[in-house]
Symmetry: C2
Subunit: 687 residues, 2 copies
């Protein structure tokens, strides 16, 4: 929230007493800059049960319900914020994504289907088309008159878009493109809206004119008539049931020499004249390709935010339950509340810290996104930074969401498995988030490539500069060559050279130093090892890179974690309220020290931590941070501001507390009545 | 396979060339001692599509289908092996479990519903009842005439069975027990067969007679009449949709002063005479309780085996796909096969090694189980060892199965999410395996308790002996006081005192020393820290234990991993065929060194490994083991002997290879025709 970040920072001053969290303030803080848009969506979900997921619908019913829900979103005006003003949008990119993210609370199927319609299909027209396309095509897309598919992925090619097999060959005789699927692996696949509802699609295909392949471009292709029948030459299949998101009609499409007008090429970055002459404002085919794909980064932004929100919901459920459910008699006669067990704290509180880190990092990420998409801060560097942040954060948060949802499920035992408690289904729906809109491992490789590229630039060594080429080769391009490493370098500079010993591992400066140093050192080591690639033939060079691939991705992950930590720390720095600041500082420490603990072997091997210090970190987490945070767990969850209509989980509704109270009252009354049976041990009643 | 373990061991002799695996032999070896029973179930599944899971059934249809499938199992004679010969069984306990485990290949719902009927409901009658009960009740249970529920868990008490709220109060006037649910938290919950099909239940309740509570006992309680209506005083609810296993009608039950004959107490371990006098062959109520529960260990045995089998299926799918699917152009013009990427190897091959470890460990586990349940090797010590092994292995394998299924899902990308490729659904079904039949964290705590108890015994120090009490307290008993630590101690003795340096980290002796040392040292450290508990009041003592709970569970996990490693190593030692032995040795090394790598921080902190050696382990895995194992991945999967009718996943059917071949043929032909479009880069065709 900009109102908050404007305010002065209060210096860190730990209170003598147990601090208290200003939950209301923290709640507003977490909602961030686009709080209004977020709250508008939350209100819509709260007030309209028609938007809620209904368990147990068959696939067909679920798909129909979700289509109907999309209509509600149109009526609510909830989904047009990003579109140009001249077609009725408001060109509010950050707010559009923020609002979209909240839809995960309604039903992930609803969210992703609306993402397909307006975030992918509509966005492709908006970002890859020109004003003529906008005026001609967007109104029907915005109103849902034309539901559409985003036909990029093929059965045979997902992450490697540049190798897709579908062709669009220009025929100057008729001034048409002929869209064609040459073999089974080139069928478009996994497309939302393809199996049933899609009346058109934005189809990615190799643009061929005059015998030259100009690479992947996007075409607007009508699919079905008003009765829902495929148009001539078009065919498809239903992908059928999936592991989740069964409210979406994913399917396959294929094209048998389907003719579309020349003007259906979305021609912002590449055009074909009536005579077949190709032209583009971007000369390099590689750069052109990545520019086109780059407009689609919003998918990754919004998944990062959605995953974070799902994690909040899961922790709301599991932590609420953990403070009410009791298990095993303690030293007194009372049974112990789950969250008082150290193991249970270890299971839930670090994940709570991680969720806060994800939340603050996402807010920063969304701001960068809005800067680029609004044009406020949209240089090539800004765009490429945005890509790197997206490639670093989306994998971390989507994987974390699955981990958190699963731990929440298990922490609720059998109750966690029931649909009525929501968590298991949410996990099933979010499963695909880790491989769509960029497979997580492939995205991390993109980050690693930029880290290496930046490193090479920084040292301006010709042979180091060749390093990035092979990794790039795996993506079919070397267009992306900047990264966050530059910033990392600055950070290291701020704190002097790599520290061999840390005075206090637990202060923010020490955490920063350790986390930054790890990224720096991993990249430098990799760069050193990969330098030899410049002297090798391509096959041997590729082999050398492949032998370091796992570590490359680990470096990328470390970079993403550092970004999260920096955002968390900056967010804590802006807090004024002493109690809130204290508790958030502990939570940030739990996140930061947790990262260091998880990678302790690396720090030990590289002489950055002594064994004693490494052990001290674990002890500090167990003996200090977890007990300190335990009393604030409910407050920290309350600050997520999820209302009962958002949570919709029986065990987080107070029902468990009621059951516990009733049971304890029963035993108390029985004891008081004098009729309680005596335990055998005390009775001597056995023969 | 006993035929194999009889044969002499061939000394380790690495062949100069690439070794080859004798897949056929290895396949038989993996099937183990109860190969015939396993193959009988696999044949039944292969030959009868009626037993296969059908995706997309609604919950109601799925439940009916699974009930029908149970009838097929009765007809096939597949489910009566464990029962007494005098009611038509064959008293083949190991074979019964082996056969049951294979059912996971048909449909986990079918498996678990059959487990409820014959493994829990029927087993309770068999193990907790006496011959009169067997003759009176088992025939109708075996024939499925009486489907039944196993009514132990309550909404308010799962892992802590001894605190359940349901009461069974003896009324000498009528010679009946009055079964009663005193409050909502005491409703029986999550019970298969409770929502719809159950006509009776084995109900666990506090046995009260003459004003004395003799603790939890089991009662046979009729639930529904022939029309499926609840009998008077009985009520219930449907648990509804779940995260998986929706072919099972889980539900809740409650009892309002329901009267059953005195003789419906399953009275093997505790009886009530007509006049209300209680008697038991086991004097200590705690020991009696654990003896009764101990008869139910087979649930844990069979989940360990089922989880291992599910992991095999997942790896069959993912590794098959990984050797056919290509992604991103390599240094040549060919696209690279997924499994040639180092990261992909890192994702799948260590999990393959883990699955082999689980498979061999399970075979040893099943043999111990069969020894106890057949009476061949059934001393108190044997029983308690069995419990410890079960508590150590079931958590590891069920968690591993979820991890492996998820990684397999992700490694297959979007295709992994489709129901037609099976993995996502299997993961959803197996989710609950980690918290039922003993919550994994609670089971590990049981292991830790025994490790401490054994340690205390070994050192015979009075104050050390108190250690186990507090952990035990959390389970409401101190009846279990033996563990595998004794064996661990012997192992350490075999290899001299804890080694501070290891010559060759990669040989078996060094792996054993490192893995064993870690368990030993963790337990000794914990014992030292917990010794102070004897001098504290109960509240402070409990606090001290809780402060070490997380590490206690880590020690238990390390113990379980050591058991897996030992079984794997013993299994490799028995192999004769040089190529097979070589490849399995590499695979065992990958498992063992992988464990050490994962816990490298511990080894470094404790001075067991130098930084250099720790790094050498990672390098050895990446640079040697993964590349060596890569060519054998398909063979190692083929040895699981899963046939197409067991796998039933489109992408593992050869369809992907066909698609790849077709695409490559298309491009080759296009190239040969001279009509292939020229890439823009080479054409100079842009203006």
């Amino acid at each position: 929230m900009s109102t908050l970040s404007d305010q002065p920072t209060v210096p860190y001053d730990p209170p003598a007493d147990v601090p208290s969290v200003d939950v209301d303030w923290l709640g507003r803080y977490l909602l961030g800059q686009w709080a209004d848009e977020r709250l508008a969506t939350r209100d819509a979900i709260r007030n309209n049960p028609q938007l809620h997921r209904v368990d147990g619908l068959g696939m067909d019913e679920h798909r129909e319900r979700v289509l109907h829900q999309l209509g509600i979103l149109v009526e609510e005006g909830a989904v047009h914020r990003a579109f140009p003003k001249y077609v009725g949008g408001s060109e509010n990119h950050g707010g559009n994504i923020a609002s979209f993210e909240e839809l995960v609370l309604a039903d992930p199927s609803l969210q992703i289907k609306s993402g397909v319609q307006w975030g992918l299909f509509g966005s492709a027209v908006m970002h890859l088309g020109t004003e003529e396309h906008h005026r001609r095509l967007l109104p029907a897309i915005m109103s849902l008159e034309v539901p559409g598919a985003f036909a990029m992925t093929e059965t045979g090619h997902g992450s490697d878009v540049s190798s897709i097999g579908t062709t669009a060959t220009y025929d100057p005789e008729t001034e048409e493109f002929v869209v064609h699927t040459p073999f089974r692996a080139a069928w478009k696949d996994y497309l939302g809206n393809a199996a049933l509802h899609g009346k058109a699609a934005t189809v990615f295909a190799q643009l061929i004119t005059g015998g030259v392949n100009h690479g992947v471009h996007c075409f607007y292709v009508p699919l079905r008539d008003d009765e829902g029948h495929f148009l001539p030459g078009i065919g498809g299949e239903d992908d059928g049931l999936k592991g989740g998101l069964n409210g979406i009609d994913n399917g396959r499409l294929h094209f048998d020499h389907v003719r579309i007008p020349r003007t259906n090429l979305l021609n912002r970055y590449g055009d074909v004249a009536p005579d077949g002459t190709y032209s583009s404002p971007i000369e390099s085919p590689g750069r052109r390709f990545f520019t086109m794909l780059g407009t689609l980064v919003q998918g990754r932004v919004s998944l990062d935010g959605s995953a974070t929100l799902a994690a909040k919901l899961a922790l709301h459920v599991a932590i609420t339950y953990a403070t009410q459910r009791r298990q095993f008699p303690g030293a007194g006669s009372e049974e112990v509340v789950l969250l008082d067990y150290q193991r249970h704290q270890r299971r839930l509180l670090p994940r709570l810290a991680q969720t806060y880190a994800m939340s603050f990092a996402h807010e920063d990420f969304l701001e960068v996104f809005d800067g680029v998409f609004s044009g406020r801060k949209a240089s090539d560097d800004d765009r490429q930074d945005l890509e790197t942040i997206a490639a670093a954060l989306k994998p971390l948060s989507t994987w974390a969401a699955l981990d958190i949802l699963q731990e929440a499920r298990e922490a609720c035992g059998g109750a966690g498995f029931l649909a009525q408690n929501r968590v298991a289904q949410l996990r099933a729906d979010l499963d695909i988030y880790v491989t769509f809109e960029g497979d997580n491992n492939v995205l991390l490789q993109l980050v690693a490539k930029r880290l290496l590229g930046d490193y090479a630039k920084r040292f301006k060594k010709a042979d180091a500069a060749t390093m990035a080429r092979y990794v790039a080769g795996q993506f079919g391009s070397s267009a992306l060559d900047r990264s966050g490493l530059r910033q990392v370098g600055q950070r290291v500079a701020d704190f002097g050279s790599t520290a061999r010993s840390v005075g206090q591992v637990r202060d923010a400066a020490a955490q920063r130093q350790l986390l930054t140093d790890r990224v720096e050192t991993m990249v430098a080591e990799l760069a050193g090892r990969l330098r030899a690639a410049s002297k090798l033939d391509p096959v041997a060079g590729q082999k050398l890179f492949n032998e370091n691939q796992n570590e490359l991705l680990e470096a990328a992950r470390a970079h993403g974690e550092l970004l999260q930590w920096e955002s968390f720390t900056a967010a804590v720095d802006r807090v004024e309220h002493p109690g809130t600041k204290q508790v958030l500082t502990w939570l940030r420490d739990l996140f930061g020290l947790g990262l260091i603990e998880r990678n302790a072997a690396w720090y030990l091997i590289h002489g950055r931590l002594s064994g004693q210090r490494a052990q001290a970190i674990t002890d500090y987490i167990d003996d200090r941070l977890l007990p300190r945070l335990r009393p604030h767990a409910l407050d920290l969850v309350a600050a997520f501001r999820l209302e009962p209509e958002h949570v919709r989980a029986e065990i987080a509704s107070g029902a468990e507390q009621q059951r516990q109270d009733e049971a304890r009252a029963y035993y108390a009354e029985l004891e008081a009545s004098g009729l309680a049976p005596v335990p055998e041990k005390k009775s001597g009643a056995q023969r």
